[in-house]
C-alpha cells in the first residue's frame, strides 16, 4: 500500500483523537467570522456605516445592554431549572401525578412561545400608554422562562426514566431512600439530560431576545434594554451596520457561553451516563470526531422527545383494550410491567385539557376583571368582530406557508444529510458551518431579511409576493436546523455492523440511500419534524407581520394586530386569546393526527440497542 496515504490518514485521525479540531475546521470557522466582519466592513466603508454605528445613541450602552440581556437570561434560567427539577421529579416519581402532569406539559409546550408574549405583556403592562418599567422587566423574564422551561423538564423526566431497573433495585436493597436517593441516584442520573436540554433551553431563550426586548405593544415599541433591543431598533431605523454589529456581539456572547459553560459541563456529563450492556461492537474501526459530535448532538435533542412519546399511548388502543373484556386480564397483567407505568390513561388526558382550559379562562379573567368585564361579555365582543370562519381561514393561510417552508427545509436537509453520510470530506466541511449557522438566533436575522426583501419593494406591486417569500424564508430559518441535526445524527449513527453488511453485500449508491439511509433516518426525520414545526409556529408570529403596511394574512399577523388595537382593550384581549387557542389547537391536532401516528410506525426503523 502507498505509505504516503496511510501516514496522512494517521495524522488526520490524531487530530480527532486529541479532541482538537483539524486545521481545516478552524479555517472554516475563521472564514465564516471573517465573512461576517467583511460584510460589516463593506457596510462601514461603502455606506458610511461606521458613522451610523458611532452616531447610534445606543452604542455606548452596549456593555450595559449585554449585562441586561445576560442577567435576564440567567434569572429566567434559574427559574426554569427550579421548575424543571420540581415538575420533572414530581412527574417521574409519582405514578398517579404523571397521568396529569405529562399531558399538561405536552399542551403547554405546544403553545408557541411567542404566543405567550402579548398575554404576558397585557397582564404586566396593562393598557396604559406608558408602561411600568418594573413590570416590563418582570414580563421579559417570564417570557424567557416560558421559552426555557419545557425542554429541561422533559430532560429530567427522561433522565429519571432512564435509571436502569437493577440500579433502582440495588439502591432499594441497600436502603437508599428519600433525600439520599434523590441526591445519590436521581440527580446524577438527571445530570446529562439536564445539561443537553439546558443548551436547548438557552437556544430558545436567545431566540426570544431580539423580539421581546423591542415589541410593539399598545401601539408603541416596548424597550426593555438589551442587545435584542439594539438589533431590533437599529433595523427599524434601517441601520444595517448597527444591526450587524449588534448581531456579531450577540453571536460572540452565545459562542463564548457555549465554550466556557456548556462544553465543560457536557464533558462532565459523560461520567454520569449508564453503560449500556448492548451487544459489543466487534469492529475496531475508529469513529471520527465529527460523527461522534453529531451523534451526541442528536442524542441530546432527541432523547427527551423520544422518551416522552414512548410514554404516550393512543386512546384507540386503550379503548380497544377496555372493550375486549376477555383481554382484560391480559391488559392488567401488562400494566404491571415497568415500561407501562408511565402510560397516560384517558382520564388523565381529559383532566389535563380541562386544567389547561381552566388556566386559559383564568388568564382571561385576570386580564379583563380590572375593567369589570365578564368572560361572557368578552365572548360576545369576539363573536361580533371575528367569525370562526375567519379564524379557520387565517389558520389555513398560515398552515400553507408553514407547509411550504417545511418541504423546502426537508428537501435540503435530507440532501445534506445524505451527502454528509456518503462523504467524510463533506461532513468535515459542512458540520462546522451548520454549527455556527445554528447558533445565530433566527429572530436576529429577521430584520436583515426585512431590509433586503421587503424595504426595497415598498410601494411596488411586487410587495405582496416578496412579503410571502420573506415570510417563508423567515419560517425556514426557524425550522431547518432541527431537521438538519436530527437527520445528520441519524445517518451518522447507522450501526457499524449494518454498514459492514451492506458493504459486504454490495448495497451501494442509490440502493444504499433508498434502502438504508432514508429508512434509518425516518424516526429522526419525524422527531426533527415535530421540533421544526414547533420552531415554525414560533417564527410564524414575527414572520407575518412587519408593520401595518407590510403584512400577510395569517394567525401570526392577526395576533400582532390584535395587540395593537387601540380603542377597544377588551377586543384586544379576546382576540389574542382566540388566536392563541386556535394555534395551540392546530398544533395539538397536527401532533395527534400526523406525527404521533407516524412515530408509532417508526418503531420498526429503530436499530436494536
Amino acid at each position: 500500500m502507498c505509505p504516503l496515504r496511510s501516514s496522512l490518514s494517521i495524522r488526520q485521525a490524531r487530530y480527532w483523537a486529541r479532541g482538537s479540531k483539524p486545521r481545516i475546521i478552524r479555517t472554516i470557522e475563521g472564514l465564516v467570522i471573517v465573512a461576517a466582519l467583511f460584510l460589516l466592513i463593506v457596510e462601514v466603508v461603502v455606506n458610511g456605516g461606521l458613522n451610523s454605528i458611532i452616531k447610534n445613541g445606543l452604542t455606548p450602552e452596549l456593555p450595559l445592554f449585554a449585562v441586561f440581556t445576560l442577567g435576564r437570561m440567567t434569572i429566567a434560567y434559574a427559574l426554569a431549572l427550579a421548575f424543571a427539577l420540581s415538575y420533572g421529579i414530581a412527574t417521574a416519581m409519582s405514578h398517579r401525578a404523571s397521568h396529569v402532569l405529562l399531558p399538561l406539559l405536552d399542551i403547554f409546550q405546544s403553545v408557541p412561545v411567542l404566543g405567550y408574549l402579548p398575554i404576558v405583556f397585557a397582564i404586566f403592562l396593562g393598557t396604559g400608554q406608558t408602561a411600568n418599567p418594573f413590570g416590563l422587566q418582570i414580563a421579559t423574564i417570564i417570557l424567557i422562562f416560558t421559552a426555557m422551561a419545557w425542554s429541561p423538564t422533559f430532560g429530567v423526566i427522561a433522565g429519571i426514566n432512564a435509571i436502569p431497573a437493577d440500579i433502582k433495585e440495588a439502591s432499594h436493597a441497600y436502603g437508599l431512600r428519600g433525600v439520599r436517593y434523590l441526591r445519590q441516584i436521581v440527580l446524577p442520573a438527571v445530570y446529562p439530560e439536564l445539561v443537553w436540554t439546558s443548551i436547548l433551553a438557552w437556544g430558545s431563550g436567545w431566540y426570544l431576545i431580539p423580539i421581546e426586548e423591542y415589541f410593539p405593544f399598545n401601539g408603541t415599541p416596548q424597550k426593555a434594554g438589551g442587545l435584542g433591543q439594539y438589533i431590533a431598533q437599529a433595523s427599524a431605523n434601517s441601520d444595517i451596520a448597527s444591526a450587524l454589529f449588534g448581531l456579531i456581539i450577540l453571536v460572540g456572547i452565545i459562542y463564548a457561553i457555549d465554550q466556557l459553560v456548556w462544553r465543560p459541563l457536557g464533558a462532565r456529563a459523560e461520567k454520569y451516563k449508564y453503560e449500556s450492556t448492548a451487544a459489543p461492537r466487534t469492529t475496531a474501526t475508529p469513529r471520527s470526531g465529527v460523527s461522534e459530535g453529531v451523534r451526541r448532538a442528536e442524542d441530546r435533542i432527541v432523547a427527551p422527545v423520544r422518551t416522552f412519546y414512548k410514554s404516550q399511548r393512543s386512546i384507540v388502543t386503550r379503548a380497544l383494550e377496555v372493550v375486549r373484556v376477555t383481554k382484560l386480564l391480559h391488559a392488567t397483567d401488562r400494566l404491571k410491567f415497568p415500561e407501562r407505568i408511565s402510560r397516560i390513561p384517558f382520564w388523565g388526558r381529559l383532566l389535563s385539557y380541562a386544567i389547561f382550559l381552566g388556566l386559559v379562562a383564568f388568564g382571561l379573567e385576570l386580564l379583563i376583571a380590572p375593567r369589570s368585564e365578564s368572560i361572557l361579555n368578552a365572548l360576545t365582543v369576539l363573536a361580533a368582530n371575528v367569525t370562526a370562519f375567519q379564524l379557520i381561514g387565517l389558520t389555513l393561510f398560515s398552515l400553507s406557508r408553514l407547509v411550504t417552508a417545511y418541504l423546502i427545509a426537508l428537501g435540503w436537509t435530507l440532501a445534506a444529510g445524505i451527502l454528509i453520510a456518503r462523504s467524510q470530506r463533506f461532513s468535515r466541511w459542512l458540520v462546522p458551518i451548520f454549527d455556527i449557522g445554528q447558533s445565530i438566533p433566527a429572530t436576529a436575522l429577521f430584520p436583515l431579511v426585512v431590509i433586503i426583501l421587503v424595504d426595497p419593494f415598498r410601494n411596488t406591486p411586487y410587495l405582496g409576493a416578496t412579503l410571502n417569500f420573506a415570510s417563508i424564508i423567515l419560517l425556514l430559518t426557524g425550522m431547518q436546523w432541527y431537521l438538519l441535526f436530527n437527520i445528520v445524527g441519524a445517518v451518522n449513527s447507522v450501526p457499524n455492523d449494518i454498514n459492514e453488511a451492506t458493504k459486504a453485500y454490495r448495497v451501494r449508491g442509490g440502493r444504499y440511500v433508498k434502502q438504508i439511509l432514508i429508512p434509518a433516518a425516518f424516526p429522526a426525520i419525524l422527531i426533527g419534524s415535530i421540533q421544526a414545526w414547533g420552531g415554525g409556529w414560533n417564527a410564524l408570529i414575527v414572520s407575518e407581520y412587519i408593520d401595518p403596511n407590510a403584512n400577510v394574512p395569517g394567525l401570526g399577523s392577526f395576533l400582532v394586530q390584535a395587540s395593537n388595537i387601540m380603542n377597544n382593550p377588551l377586543l384586544t384581549d379576546v382576540e389574542i386569546f382566540a388566536a392563541l387557542l386556535a394555534m395551540t389547537a392546530t398544533v395539538l391536532t397536527i401532533n395527534r393526527l400526523v406525527w404521533r401516528r407516524l412515530l408509532r410506525k417508526a418503531d420498526r426503523y429503530k436499530f436494536e440497542a
Binding site: M1, A279, T283, D497, I498, E500, A504, R508, I516, R604
Partner: protein, 266 residues
C-alpha cells in the same frame, strides 16, 4: 479463474497442494492512537484452501479485523490479500459474510434481508425471490419469510444471516464469531447445522474461514486452526486437526488439541 468442478469427496478435506483460494501476504494493521500508534497485528502470512479454517486468539488480537480485510471491508496498512490470485480491494459476491451481531436490517423482512445480498448480482429479479426463499427454507425458517428481525430469537436471526450468505452461493464463507451472541444450547445446534451445510455437496461453498475465541469450538469444527497471540499479534501456530468427522466433543484427542492451542496463546 474458478476452480474446476471436481467431484466432491465424501468429506471435504484439504486438497493441497492445489492452488490456494485465498493468499494472505505480509498483512499488518496499525491504528493511530494518542501520540503513539498501535500495531494490531504484523507479518501475517497464510494460504486458505478448500477447508474449514478457524482463526483463534485472545480478544484484541485483531481476528475480526483480519476477517474484514479478507473480505475487502477494511484495508491492511501493509500487505495484500489475493483471491484466486487477484488482489482483494472490495467485497466480492463470491465471498459471503456472517456477522457476530447478525447485522440484519430492522425494517426489512426475513425475505428482504436475504434478497438484499442478491440484488447486487446479475440474477433476474423473479429468480432472486425464488433463490432467497429456497435458502430461507434450507436454514429452517420456512413460514417466517414475512417476519421482521425484531420478532425472531437470536438463533433465528443468525439463521437469516446464514441464509443471506449462502444465497450468493459463495466460494468462501467468512464467519465472525457467529455463535458467540447466542445462548449455549442454540449455539450448539447451529454449529451442527453449519457443519452439515458445509459437508453437504449440494452447496457450492467448500471453504470456510471462521474467527472465534472459543478454542473448543475451533477444534470441534475446523480442519485447520491458525493461532494468534497477544497484540501485536503474530501467527504462533498452524495446526491440522486430523480427527474423523463427525467428531465427539468428549474425545480425549480434542482436549490434547485444545491444550496445545491454549498453551500457545498464553
Amino acid at each position: 479463474m474458478t476452480q474446476p468442478n471436481e467431484p466432491l469427496p465424501d468429506i471435504k478435506n484439504v486438497s493441497r497442494p492445489a492452488d490456494p483460494l485465498l493468499e494472505i501476504k505480509d498483512i499488518s494493521k496499525v491504528y493511530p492512537g494518542e501520540g503513539k500508534s498501535t500495531t494490531v497485528f504484523d507479518d501475517i502470512n497464510f494460504n486458505v484452501y478448500k477447508e474449514f479454517l478457524c482463526i483463534v486468539g485472545p480478544s484484541g488480537c485483531g481476528k475480526s479485523t483480519l476477517l474484514r480485510i479478507i473480505d475487502g471491508l477494511d484495508s491492511p496498512t501493509t500487505g495484500q490479500v489475493l483471491f484466486h490470485g487477484q488482489p482483494v480491494t472490495a467485497p466480492s459476491p463470491k465471498i459471503g459474510v456472517i456477522f457476530q451481531t447478525f447485522a440484519l436490517i430492522p425494517w426489512k423482512t426475513v425475505l428482504g434481508n436475504v434478497e438484499m445480498a442478491l440484488q447486487a448480482t446479475t440474477v433476474p429479479k423473479d429468480e432472486q425471490v425464488k433463490i432467497a426463499k429456497k435458502y430461507i427454507q434450507d436454514v429452517g425458517l420456512e413460514g417466517f419469510e414475512t417476519a421482521y428481525p425484531k420478532e425472531l430469537s437470536g438463533g433465528m436471526k443468525q439463521r437469516v444471516g446464514i441464509a443471506r450468505a449462502l444465497a450468493l452461493q459463495p466460494e468462501v464463507l467468512l464467519m465472525d464469531e457467529p455463535f458467540s451472541s447466542l445462548d449455549a444450547l442454540t449455539a450448539e445446534n447451529l454449529r451442527q447445522e453449519v457443519l452439515e451445510i458445509w459437508r453437504d455437496p449440494v452447496y457450492a461453498t467448500n471453504c470456510v474461514v471462521m474467527v472465534t475465541h472459543n478454542v473448543q469450538e475451533a477444534v470441534y469444527m475446523a480442519d485447520r486452526v491458525i493461532v494468534l497471540n497477544h497484540r501485536p499479534a503474530k501467527i504462533v501456530d498452524d495446526i491440522q486437526i486430523t480427527l474423523e468427522r463427525p467428531r465427539n466433543q468428549r474425545d480425549p484427542a480434542m482436549f490434547d488439541y485444545s491444550d496445545r492451542i491454549i498453551s500457545k496463546i498464553s
